[in-house]
């Protein structure tokens, strides 16, 4: 049975700017929000948008990610008519090559898409935290009779020069795309979420693959080429919470956003409405001790808190010993904060032990990543 729309999730990047957090795992596998990995967000969005077929393109440290994605069961993407496939680079009759860019990754899997024969292909990235119903975007795409629809987010003028910016007509059709413009003409930033008519995508990728000067990138090559050819590109505006968690600072900030009382991003974006699915860790319930104080924080099952926790995101199996004080921090799975240790404005990587009495970033201004 041909599929109306299948999703292709780009999850091959290392995320170099996440420093040692991505030493052994790819960026989409990085922990977020007390219990999730970043890739849980797009995959849960697919499930909640009733997309039943997802290809996950992996490359950097692909084994862990392939295993984590598995058959899609964690997100319910393993039902009848469902298919979840990890697609790392492979050897074929033509030879073997790494994915040379986002567009090349899809190009190398055109046979996978041909087999499914979808009407539309949804291109996603495994780097972003957000909740979105892709069905609404598809609706807009169909209604406008577009060849490509790009999800955009309104950012501030000062932020705009860090993003790919869409310059649009009043009917939201795109007339120009500028990658990280010095003087932005608009504040509509691309979220890296695309819906293509498969026929359009296919021919664009085939042409791009032949172009030796191309970087084989959606933003840098495919979108500008389609614009140049006069194809109809639509911008679809998204109004919810969305964050690229590509750096230690932005990963920390996005975690802290979950504690923000003004925007209430955590409640409005993630606690209400469809659930975000993830792996179940079979942890025991979280325990808060007799002399502890936990405030303004989110804490996952399996954690044991005997010390003080203020404004923190605490993952499963974290142990915070008596007398320890942890503030403004993200403590990833299985980390241990020893007695009377103090941690401030930090991300403590999974499994790290902070020994007794150690002071981490006390009065620090910058956010630090602690891995040992």
């Amino acid at each position: 049975m041909p599929k109306e729309m299948v999703a292709m999730l780009l999850a091959g990047g290392k995320g170099t700017r996440l420093e040692d957090l991505t030493k052994k795992i790819a960026k989409p596998a990085v922990s977020f929000g007390g219990k999730y990995r970043i890739i849980d967000f797009p995959l849960s969005n697919c499930a909640n948008s009733r997309i039943d077929t997802v290809g996950v393109l992996t490359q950097y440290e692909s084994v862990f990610l392939n295993t984590y994605v598995g058959n899609g069961e964690k997100w319910g993407l393993n039902g009848v008519r469902s298919l979840t496939a990890s697609l790392p680079p492979r050897q074929t009759e033509e030879g073997a090559a790494w994915y040379r860019g986002t567009a090349d990754a899809i190009f190398q899997n055109l046979d996978f898409l041909d087999e499914l024969d979808p009407e539309y292909v949804l291109i996603l990235s495994g780097d972003h935290v957000y909740k979105m119903d892709y069905r609404d975007m598809l609706e807009a795409h169909k209604k406008a009779n577009a060849e490509l629809t790009i999800a955009v987010l309104s950012v501030t003028m000062s932020e705009a020069s860090r993003f790919g910016i869409m310059n649009v007509n009043p009917d939201m059709t795109v007339y120009e795309f500028e990658e990280k413009p010095k003087k932005p003409k608009s504040t509509l930033a691309s979220m890296g979420i695309y819906i293509f008519n498969y026929k359009t995508l296919r021919s664009a990728l085939v042409a791009d693959a032949k172009d030796e000067t191309s970087e084989h990138d959606f933003g840098k090559n495919i979108i500008p080429t389609l614009l140049k050819k006069g194809q109809k590109l639509l911008a679809y505006q998204f109004n919810g919470y969305w964050k690229d968690v590509g750096t230690i600072d932005s990963l920390w900030q996005a975690n802290m956003d979950m504690l923000d009382h003004l925007t209430d991003a955590d409640v409005n974006s993630f606690r209400l409405g469809p659930k975000t699915f993830s792996e179940d860790t079979h942890s025991v319930p979280q325990y808060v001790g007799r002399s502890s104080c936990v405030r303004d924080s989110i804490v996952n099952q399996g954690a044991i808190i005997l010390g003080e926790v203020h404004h923190c995101v605490i993952f499963n199996e974290v142990l915070i010993e008596e007398g320890a004080v942890v503030k403004n921090a993200v403590i990833m799975p299985g980390a241990m904060i020893g007695k009377n240790a103090v941690v401030d404005r930090a991300i403590v990587a999974g499994g790290t032990s902070i020994e007794e009495n150690r002071q981490v970033n006390v009065n620090g201004v910058k956010i630090v990543l602690v891995t040992k």
Binding site: K275, F277, H282, V284, Q286, Y287, D296, I298, V299
Partner: protein, 371 residues
Amino acid sequence: MYKVMGLCNLHHSPELGELTANRPLASTSFLGRYALIDFTLSNFSNSDIDDVGILVKHGARSILKHLGSANVWKANTKLGFEAIMFNEKMVNNPRYNHDLNNIRANDWVFFDRAPDYFVIAPVHFLMPIDFRRVIEEHIKNKAELTLVYAPVTNGKSNFIGSEVVTLDANGLVSGIHENKGTVDEIDVSLETYVINRATLWELMKRAAATSSFFGLNDIIGYCCRKGEKVHSFKHEGYVRCFDSLSHYLAHSLELLNYGVRRQLFKPDWPIYTVTHDTPPAKYGLTAEVKDSFIANGAIVNGTVERSIISRSVKVEEGAMVRNSIILTDTVIGKGLVLDNVVVDKYAHLTHAQVIQGEPDEPLYIKQGDII
């Protein structure tokens, strides 16, 4: 290599008053994220028993809702097998709705699953137990029937109404009688058995010939009285009997103590349960939590002391919860003070007042009640 089928026996589950009025003990919430049956099913799973039958006495709806496909307890989801065993004909006839009649009504398991041994275990005795060790000893003894018991030292206050076993010098069960609470040091039967397939078949036939009301415990007691060989296996370590609301509260809160908790939750003995994919618990600016379990999805802005807050419960600012168990999706509003209370699911407590029970007589707030 031998083949084992586990039977989770819900026929002898005690009632915990109104808490179990609409659900069996097996699917009653525990520690904010489990159902009691999770522990028996995890004992099977961790003991490499992947073939499981659940002997449901009543309340199948609630059991089925909790189990789903039961895949979370299976090592291999193809080879693993679970059967809901239910005696539909007898459900409204309590004297006949006993475990042996249930097994009779589902006797296809003898042929279809054809295990060498059945392991039969209830849910109201909470314990981590490796059934492989029981089976090994059963085989070593060339036994046909092995009963698991535990030596306990609080028989005057706990295990009332449970069976007490007496053992002879060879470790064979020489007598079984009811615990009337007169002695503290007793060997209590955990109603957990390893039985050869042919022996169970034989016991079913003999029970029917003796009395139509005879369940498994009855016929085993009868065998003992007749001087037939019933072997014993001593379970050492943590075991608690869930036989009243006050014991439910006490056994739950006792696990807040790390030393006790470590006896039930062992690193090599995971307890599996179904996930509800709720987000982590959220503690507000005014949260004051001490010595408590907080489940995922909970939002706490009030004071919680020595209590268990289940999934997706809201404790609002200015509320105070002490020595209590608050079940799933309940709202505890501002100004409420709860002490020694068990609040059932979906209750909505908003009117400021003090609701106070006693440790040996906790107050119970009904499912969905609005106060």
